[in-house]
Symmetry: D3
Subunit: 246 residues, 6 copies
């Protein structure tokens, strides 16, 4: 089985970290194809960044269809372009926020999201609502670490995240933690050890979710909203993106 993990930002070292996490949990017969977007923002920290990440992301999905991919993971906690990607894909497409929140709601009565910049907290709440997970979400807490500072070798990020997780447990009564950024993919276990409650990291969860759905033969519903985009001719620099008939 071929699962394509798409990093919708252009920072290849984040893709590498995530691909390692993905391969560590993938089934033996699952091939992880990891792709870094070739255009747009190097990190997604605003609605604007997210908007400009979409062409690069969707190009990777379109390529994936040609490559015979069985399922996709969108590896950014804002789950950008999730519905558009589903229109393109035959197989399942899973967002890392979506998979993490689903997993958290199964193993715990509630979770808090611990994320990077405060300005992205609203996005996390939007997703929680859209997935029906708002009722499980106690809070979305920001550490005010920039995405690209998460992997600084000095460990500051981990320390700040652990502190914020503890506040979520004490002040908001959360029973588990969802890590709110793809860039935290390799920190899950260490944080769980530090705080003593389940910590859900979305990249690995989404990879397994996509694998499971594909294994069960569950493809994206092509009746209605997720049908293939109608063929039409796009203009200007984005003409290459024009949807074609199958």
């Amino acid at each position: 089985m071929k699962i394509k993990l798409i990093n919708p930002n252009t920072t290849a070292r984040m893709t590498d970290t995530m691909a390692n996490c993905a391969r560590a949990v993938a089934a033996v017969d699952t091939e992880i194809v990891a792709a870094t977007s070739t255009m747009g923002p190097p990190s997604i920290e605003s609605w604007y960044d997210e908007s400009l990440a979409l062409p690069g992301l969707l190009a990777e999905v379109a390529a994936g269809e040609r490559e015979g991919v069985d399922g996709y993971v969108i590896a950014c906690f804002g789950d950008p372009g999730l519905f558009a990607a589903r229109e393109l894909a035959r197989g399942p497409v899973v967002g890392i926020a979506e998979a993490a929140m689903h997993a958290a709601s199964v193993i715990a009565p509630s979770f808090s999201v611990v994320t990077t910049l405060a300005r992205t907290a609203g996005m996390a709440w939007h997703l929680a609502e859209r997935y029906g997970m708002k009722r499980f979400c106690r809070s979305v807490r920001a550490t005010d670490i920039a995405v690209l500072d998460l992997d600084r070798p000095d460990g500051t990020a981990r320390r700040l995240i652990v502190d914020e997780c503890r506040r979520a447990l004490e002040e908001d009564g959360a029973d588990s933690i969802v890590l709110g950024c793809a860039g935290m993919a390799d920190l899950g276990r260490a944080i769980e050890d530090a705080i003593g409650v389940p910590v859900i990291e979305g990249v690995s969860a989404a990879v397994k979710w996509a694998e499971v759905l594909a294994a069960l033969g569950l493809a994206t519903a092509k009746r209605g909203e997720y049908a293939r985009p109608l063929a039409k001719r796009y203009d200007g620099p984005l003409a290459d993106f024009s949807p074609r008939n199958d």
Copy 2:
């Protein structure tokens, strides 16, 4: 990995069918332990049936803990005793309605549940709400087939279910179907072929969900609501169920 599939009713032939479905999708290194409840109702078709199914179900979870089980599936669409089972279990516990609804919400914009008796439709709606899946659920439709008539060899059940699925697509605008009874576990593929939209069957979905969560090292949160029941001495015929200290 050891996944225990518990049929909370006492009908062993339903357990056999479900165990077959489970083994067909389980990973090569997953052992499916299938158990039939040893006490209570032969089928669960009311709140009363569900209540009396709980002791037998929870006995199987308690036994599972002694047997080193890594994850559990509660194989009845009412997901009976889900929260109580989570208090007992170290590993994840997944309900088949829960897993089916999660899966449906990932691959389709909406689903309808097609179930057995009309009187159980309210239960399905309660679950949809509790899991945050109400927003994806277009309708819960009953076929008025008794649970134990589902596997009659004459094919009536399948025909009635297919008809009801079609009405869900046309009248309610659903994009996918969730089969609302564990007794339909072996019908999913045939119905999907007949109606042409994804059909999600909960037993196989829940088995994979439990497997994934266990594989990711995600255990049930033991802080708060899902903590082990306090040790105390129960009275009368249920004294054997008394929770003990670990």
Copy 3:
């Protein structure tokens, strides 16, 4: 009129206290039949305890039907088995959380629930949602007193409850208090005197609710979800619980 108050735990002294509260408010022509469950947990402090309390509770409802009972009160704040009991009963069945929340919503713009162990707070929120009362509920606050320690003669429980009620008024802006445990049945008036806002105690409220509904000739709806359980043969130690045709 005969109202049966069922204590779903096996602690008879709690039943006595509650029966006294019930008789103090019952109409002159109302007979209060107080029953203590004969099997299961001595106090209900987890989902597991609640699950194992159901057989004993439902046996008392079934007995009540043979005894010509006109209405029932389930005297535990988790309102265990409420829907199953309604399937068995001809007359109305009222939960003490349900009655208390309804009463609070009529006399005050909002209430907070003050309960025993923190792990049961989630149950209270579930009930508030199920009854439509979430919008009135400011908070569910735990005192971390075990149920069976509530009536210790030293008055500690009352002091802790009063303190927690005051915090609910000040920090959460509640206008009234719902006592979140049947074991607090005799404390209502004293706490109200101490804190100066209405304190609603569910046992007496539920007894009056059941009395009123029965007096109005309002029986449980037997169309649909609350219809009598279908007759079927249960297996094993629970065979005596098999539903029979009327």
Copy 4:
């Protein structure tokens, strides 16, 4: 105990019918004081009618406080002025829609409201939301009978209401019926006999609710929103309504 039933419209024969219903269910030691508003609309069939019914209604509450009334019933299905009345009253104030919806939610999984004019259906939905009862309400159905035509001797009203109730059961799946107008107070039993599911009539329900709350010593919360109106001097023709210090 003194319960004041206030008809907020000026049609005395409606008050008489409702007072009879009230007295038929009141406890032996309950005195029903029935009052007809002395100003405003003869029937309430719009937001405008309701607005102009408020002075007359509130005058009766203010008078009730001087008369030592223990609890109030606002006998119009729009529950006009409920919150303002609670500010004036020491004892509980119950609306007939509120009491009927609470009662229906206890004895049945769902209800439909059958009312008079279609233009008032929105009001019923507003109330259902405000009381948290929307989740139990399957539909609000209008018969397009004017309020003052309900008691025409030819029985047309009853026939139309029964027909609409049957549609609510069949088309909307309701399990019980709430009668949506105080003018239907004497029709409950006959309709219940005709349709075979519980029919809840709000006047008798509210009288019993008010009686119960008063009997339990539950007064209106005077902290916050339902505190006495601040004393101030009103102007013009409404000067007599000026709130005074106690």
Copy 5:
């Protein structure tokens, strides 16, 4: 175009302040007709005050219809009588809370309401719910200034409001402020300057909203709930309010 601004309390100096604000923002061809209610409370600080403000308010709407008014503003933050006014009016009727909340939801991800007395906070939440704006509302905060003390020359009110706004930003995470009283109409700019986030004042917003809707030819829908009240004869001192046929 003629926009009628109705102050539903009887305090003419508040009307003057609001009329000035209205005229400062109205289009050149818009005539602002400002009216002070001729009966009822001098300020609206309870449900009771609001109820008694309705006759005076609705008399002004009825007069407006005779005067050829194109649109109305109800200039009290409780938006009293909004639906009744819409039944009377051909043109649009806008409440100041409604307009302010709509505006806030367009320019900011969230708002907090800063109002006068704590007892009116519940009203603001009711309105937020009714308008669908609850999801944007972080908090409703009271300053405990009486309405008629807002314009005291010593500046106390402004200081207290600014302090409360700051707490809303810091403690509740609001991104903008809605001023929760018509009596704050002239304070908006000064407070915005002090706190550095957008401050929305409802009187000017509602005047522009009414102007826009009228300019677009959007009249109140006369099908269904907002249809003209049925003609009927009112009794007693309110007989002059009897609705007549057009």
Copy 6:
């Protein structure tokens, strides 16, 4: 005042129609700057189309900031890129669905959306939820007309839309109609004449909303979620979109 109307698709004749509608309602001192996106889809009929419309749309907002624009209208009923645009803009940014739904909720108790392709109905529901307008929305109904067929001279589109509007009134009980596509901008009045209830067309509504907000000095909140995107260097063909410091 300068209001920029951005057509996020590349079809200039749609921009012309919309600009005419905008100019017909704009204030005398308002300059309407109409822009057609220079890249991407010629019509937006899927999530994919919408995603690829974002770069062109956001380029126009960025240009608008350099041109001194006071407010923006996003002239496509999916309100694409609304939040990203708000991050870029100093002045208010209004979506046509947002403005139309707000307007409808003021003049009518409910509305139905009548749109083009069935596959876009889900988007309209998402917007209704996000704006808090779901409670007013009775239905979203599709005519299955492609966007670019709306202005065919044979009048087919108008006929189909009128038919669908009538079904919304009769079957769903709507009191007003919101036109669900920018391409219907010039049809509003004719449809209103045909069906006799208010018809709200979003382009003109949004132009006035933007004008009003700008006139009131209400700029986009720059604290939190709508703050300017952080400066960073984008890669590949989208490098020109890199956000810069102000």
